[in-house]
Amino acid sequence: MKNSFDEKILEEASDWLKANQKVVLATVIQTWGSSPRQVGSRMIVNEKGDFSGSVSGGCVESAVVRECMGLIKDNKPCKKIEFKVSNESAWEVGLACGGEIAVYLEQVN
């Protein structure tokens, strides 16, 4: 297998840490059905809610940011969260594509 991308999210995480920010790494660890991003896709979130990278096509990132900020606030090391298909109500967090994903959150420290 080959892949032709390198999103450099971990390198960015390292830069954030050097700037004394707290960093939570969010990684797609499982997918079911037609999910937008493959296993291993990443985003990082700091204590202010700034984020970089992605775990979906913009569908669940806001919820991931909230969860990551909660992890920092509660000083927990890690957490697994799952997202399923969203219902029709607008802005509800979920995946419009009909897929499901599991995202693993972990603090880097």
């Binding site: 080959k2 892949n3 032709s4 991308f5 390198d6 999103e7 840490l17 499982q30 296993v39 880097v108």
Partner: protein, 226 residues
Amino acid sequence: MKINILKEIIEKKNSKAEFAIVTNLKDGNSEIFEKGKKLSKNFENHKDQIESFFKLKKNGVIENTEIFVETYIRPIKVIIVGAVHIAQYLVDFAKSLNFEISIIDPRGYFASEQRFPDIKIINKWPEEAFKEIETNENSALIALTHDPKIDDPALQHALNKKFYYIGALGSKKTHENRCQRLKEAGFSDDQINSIHGPIGIKLGGRSAPEIALSIIAQLVSETYNK
């Protein structure tokens, strides 16, 4: 994840190593796995599955466990022959892609560091330059000089080493002549037809950045075709 693991991952990526990160999802413990490396007690019970993921370059959670494996593969070596204007845009476009670019050009005034900062430039003729780069069927060649003196030896090297992507810049006429020369040099029709010439997908643009974009698009497409 511990900061020292993060640092180690980045170092390994920079050294173009092949490795995997294994994470215990229950407690967040993670470590780096490489071929021949002994796993710590946390993971040694899952050695066979971790090795299998590593071998298949697979990412995912090992079935019926809480162990996540993420594999890192070496970047694809892309050799550009011709430190020309298009090459500058290729380097730009490739920044967020998993390509390790080297540029070969015997003409010193083209192959300057000032034109290509942070890129490996080999200011030699291709026959000599290829002695400095290890290449195989996972390598790609982009020949941009359309000068037979420079391009042809590089194309011959790429064909002999079975590069998965070989593209050569030049008009249809230029490419016909090139094919004829390769035929005379003893290459088969199948080998010659594997060369993408004229290079790039049909985008319509004729400027240097547009041609570079069409080449990168073809290279990515061929990367996943294999």
